[in-house]
């Protein structure tokens, strides 16, 4: 009897973030019943889509005891490069006035490749040269901001947002596909596919298991035959490739890019991971948790705007949720001791 009670309590603790999400949604609905509509939930999912991709990437890095502060700037660089190559030919202020209109896939692959190399550099600094991850990625962050600003802020139009993005991309990021009676935004579908791929990668492949192993105990992983250096470098590179994908989607969603695009996304991503149960010291975390973590923040953003709570309060609510999540997490482990 006592045992089942404690296991219910334990289950509650394990799934606490789902409860938090549910409570938030119910609270918003109680205050503003109009919130309960398919459009709103679609909007929330669509707004979460790129963030989920980013948070999963950042989460992978956290999982292997890393930390990536260059997330936002990497997205910024990928955004300005891809945006500059994706302007419609009729737009008056093109960065490359004579460039033919490219299929979306070309700039996408290009920025994925560029980011892969940059991510690999971060990974090598961390795994091979043993630079602490915060320092390595902080340095990367600064370099990337410089590079994207140089690329972005130049003649003839100077530091103007790169607009006039081709409708081939914006349509994909704004429009929906009709499945049965409901319209589902493409963005949600893309994010869902990436989530599924990530889930398989984390749970069903050697790479994923090794990620958990390295995060759990790098020395034990080494002794167990895991090529720690290789996996770490791959994680940073893969994360960077995902940032590139997210950046292109972000360009399509917003319809423009500048050197400030992506600024501060690393903190949003890390916060979502932490709320989603990823351990800052690595080795613990799940794809589902991260997705929920992101959704919690979007619901706060969107829901509180919907009921007209001003922005400052939203910051306070977010801060409280982060601390609350970590306290619950600590309790989970303290209990076992």
């Amino acid at each position: 009897m006592e045992k089942s009670k404690s296991s219910i309590k334990q289950l509650f603790m394990e799934k606490i973030i789902y409860v938090v999400l549910l409570v938030l949604i119910i609270a918003v609905i109680c205050i503003e019943p109009r919130f309960l509509s398919i459009t709103n939930f679609k909007n929330i999912l669509a707004q979460s889509a790129t963030r989920i991709i980013i948070a999963l990437a950042a989460g992978m890095v956290l999982m292997v005891r890393g930390c990536d502060l260059s997330t936002g700037r990497m997205i910024g660089l990928a955004a300005v490069i891809s945006a500059s190559l994706l302007q419609t030919t009729t737009y008056a202020y093109r960065m490359y006035p004579n460039l033919a209109e490219l299929p979306v896939i070309v700039p996408l692959l290009l920025v994925m490749a560029i980011c892969a190399v940059l991510g690999m550099i971060s990974g090598i600094c961390v795994a091979v040269l043993k630079v602490p991850p915060i320092i390595a990625t902080l340095a990367m962050q600064l370099c990337l901001y410089g590079a994207s600003s140089i690329y972005f802020d130049r003649e003839p139009y100077g530091a103007q947002p790169i607009g006039g993005i081709t409708s081939k991309l914006t349509d994909m990021c704004i429009r929906s596909v009709k499945i049965g009676p409901i319209q589902i935004p493409y963005l949600i579908i893309i994010a869902a596919i990436i989530v599924a791929v990530m889930w398989v990668l984390w749970n069903k492949t050697k790479f994923g298991k090794y990620m958990y192993a390295i995060g759990g105990n790098p020395e034990a992983a080494q002794v167990s035959g895991v090529n720690v250096v290789k996996i770490q470098v791959m994680v940073y590179a893969l994360a960077a490739v995902m940032y590139a994908v997210a950046a292109v989607l972000e360009v399509g969603r917003i319809g423009s890019a500048s050197n400030t695009t992506g600024n501060g996304y690393e903190m949003d991503a890390i916060a979502a991971c932490v709320v989603g149960g990823v351990s800052m010291s690595g080795g613990i975390g799940s794809v589902g948790g991260i997705v929920i973590g992101v959704l919690i923040f979007t619901v706060i953003n969107y829901g509180l705007s919907f009921i007209g709570v001003n922005m400052y309060w939203q910051y306070i609510v977010k801060g409280l949720i982060i601390v609350f999540a970590v306290i619950i997490d600590m309790r989970k482990y303290a209990k076992r001791k």
């Binding site: 737009y91 008056a92 100077g158 947002p161 607009g163 423009s256």
Partner: protein
Amino acid sequence: MNKKLTSSMLCAALAVGTVFGSAMTASAADLPILGAGIYSSTDNFNSYIGKAITGASEGVFEVNVDDGQLDQSTQLNQIDTALAKGAVAIAVSVVDTTSAPTIIQKCQDAGDIPVIFFNKEITDKDVVNSYENLYQVTSTGGDYGAAIEGEIIVNYWNENPEMDKNGDGKLQLINLMGDPGHTASQPRSEHVKSTIEDAGIEIELLEEDTGMWDTTKAKEKMDAWVSKYGDEIECVVCANDAMALGALTSIEAAGFNTEGKESEQYIPVVGIDALPEALEKIESGELIGSVLQDAQTQGKVIVAIANNLYQGKEPLDGLDFEFDTDGSKAVRVPYSAITAENVDEAAATYAE
């Protein structure tokens, strides 16, 4: 082995140094130095003035516009460096207006070097009058273009009766404000509303919140509001174009405005800054208008004042401008309304 590595690294460092060095000192060496700084390259208009200063300085000053990166201490370091290099004048858009006395002190200590504050106005008259060699260049009035923005809406209301969708004689308005820490934020929000009300149009404010000048944030706020109010919204007024473009993306995703003014459902959106991208949208009718802050002219005036003072002339010698009579020692460069009729005018300022 080690020696080889060291020497090759040294070579590389030298090479990099040479490249950067030559890039930085590209302009002719004997021109006087103008120390110029913007508060952040993330502010479009601010950095645009920076560009204009660079352009106007050609053949007059050697100039390198520093980016204050939203950090006052960074900016103060940059000013120290400029003064140490022997700048004959300082033109700066301060990160934090309250630190103006520190900058003045630095200029005074460096030998009464003139200082020109631009974009963000120093409103404390005691500070302004504490230093003779202090001048300011800003846009007209304390409304930061918002009165003009209000006028665009008033004109639109008068010319398009269908703007009052529900026919109640009131304007159902959504107001996206800028970063509250920015001087222009509050005045813009106030003046646009007061201009509309002064014209006899009653406002029903549906939502009012800050979008932090940011496209993404504005879009996400608008997602929620469009879902909540839909076609009840009669106007969206944004404190800058970046937010106007974000709001427009959201509105268009919900099926409004896609065909310009011919759209079945239309929500009028207005911004400020007349960014190139906004001009396109104004031309196509997706936005009803924006306000041009004349960066080119401001840059020219700043450089001209600096040059006059350097040559010992009156500050406004040879210029068509007067100082404002309010004791702010400020030159006011006027804003202008940009709508579908005069897009070309704004586009001209971006032409080479």
